[in-house]
Symmetry: C2
Subunit: 300 residues, 2 copies
């Protein structure tokens, strides 16, 4: 059971390296992160992109390109398709986004012919370590699905459960979050929470224990849960924090990064292989951690 980010790196090193296909790899920050992962023994990489731009970017960040296999494809859409194809044909184990719009790489991932689609919802799982807490939190979905339906929420939970499993948490508690901890017909998030709990009890949603609705405090703080007189064993112990909408998730996510200074990483799950998709605002550490989680996912 991995409880902190240094352990993620250590275990990824043990289980790795895995091969990352980097789509449009001529991104200074992505190259740096890939280089660190390579040096740590976590990952190998195939860099797909414009070779001249790759040489220029590598020069700027002091990365020795000779360490990596390079596929010279200037067109960004083509580079994304090639990177994805490397994974679907087994030459690489996961995909990482470089200097290209998210929509372009996701289109390649979802391509019926060369892509990695499974028919399931793709969703984003953010992994956090907050100072003072003894475990990792998995926040989902703060980035991809705008206002998921009940069935999409079920799949979003299943995706997050895969990440928790890959990090050694074999039966995570899922806290389905809302503004309150009582079911209120005026608040769809609470109705969906009750339904997701019922699905879990009927074994239609497995590999985890689903509880809620919870307000955030009752999901993460045993003391707050006691204060409310809650007796659910998941209360205060949630690992996966499932948010009702992208606005709620994004505010939680950004608040954890900017206000709580929590360490973080993120990954896209639901395709046949993990997709690492970092943003420019992520720290170098967050980018490396995201790669490490991708490697753990791809090592299962």
């Amino acid at each position: 059971l991995i409880k902190a980010f240094d352990e993620i790196l250590r275990v990824a090193k043990e289980k790795g390296p895995r091969v990352i296909a980097v789509a449009v790899a001529q991104d200074i920050e992505v190259l740096s992160a890939i280089n660190s992962a390579k040096d740590l023994g976590i990952a190998e990489a195939i860099l797909v992109g414009d070779k001249n731009e790759l040489i220029e970017a590598a020069g700027k960040c002091g990365v020795e390109l000779a360490k990596f296999e390079i596929l010279d494809i200037a067109d960004k859409t083509e580079a994304c398709r090639k990177a994805v194809e490397l994974v679907s044909t087994g030459k690489a184990h996961l995909v990482m986004k470089g200097l290209v719009d998210t929509s372009v790489i996701l289109k390649a991932v979802l391509d019926e012919k060369i892509g990695l689609r499974t028919g399931n919802v793709l969703s984003h799982v953010a992994v956090f370590h907050v100072e003072g807490y003894d475990r990792l939190f998995y926040v989902t979905d703060a980035a991809m699905n705008l206002a998921p339906t009940l069935d999409q929420k079920k799949q979003i939970i299943e995706n997050a459960v895969q990440v928790a499993h890959a990090l050694g948490n074999e039966n995570p508690y899922v806290g389905v979050l809302a503004a309150v901890e009582k079911v209120n017909p005026k608040m769809q998030a609470t109705l969906d929470a009750a339904e997701l709990v019922a699905m879990n009890q009927r074994n239609e949603l497995t590999g985890c224990r689903v509880a809620g609705p919870f307000a955030l405090d009752n999901a993460v703080s045993v003391e707050a849960a006691k204060h409310k007189g809650m007796t659910d064993p998941a209360a205060g112990h949630a690992d996966i924090l499932m948010v009702p909408t992208i606005e709620a998730g994004n505010l939680l996510y950004k608040s954890m990064v900017f206000f709580a200074k929590a360490k973080n990483a993120g990954i896209i799950v639901g395709a046949k292989a993990p997709v690492v998709l970092t943003s420019r605002a992520d720290s170098d550490e967050a980018k490396l951690n995201s790669i490490a989680i991708g490697v753990l996912m791809a090592s299962k």
Copy 2:
């Protein structure tokens, strides 16, 4: 311009004391907070409630009841109505909730005859100080309005602006929050943000500068805003953080309290007088700070 909670207490002491009508005052924690506010010279109080229970509660928390005027009313609904009436008739300046459900006291506040209704939306404003930030944040509405309409959002901003004004911030920046910083027709929060900005530019929403849509990072971090190439002068400088739904707001609020360990206070605004409504989970400090903000609001 008040930038931290110790200043709130200091200024409330200068401008106070104001008289608080405490509805169903036989609540140990509320009594303690009222007692601290009295000792600091911030507030006087009229305790409305069951006298026997008041004596018992005061005994448990070591509060000397002789310092306060007491109105012995055992029935909770009647006690709420009386407390509200004390304010509407000018004998007290603000109301505070004791050992009674929120709905009961709000019903009294909204009563057409003895209440404090203005026709405007009542909304909750949470005031935060996060370590490392040079100003207070006003988060609204994380507690009362479930999914406000555009017009309700306008009033919610107006209510928060009143609180910022009372704390010396004469022209606060309002960051209208969403999951992204671009207007996206699939995301109502971004459409409403654009409309609220336009209302502000047309002088239909005044006393503040409204900007957005912002993701949280671009609202509070100048560096993150620069990273995104944002040029709006409000970017990174928002004082009021206006959330789209109660779920988004509650997650942000709870995350700030439980993950970021931010200092906080809260108040209900939109009635003729402020309503202090603390929850059992609030710290003693948060309760006292909430009273102090109520006193500042009532001193304008």
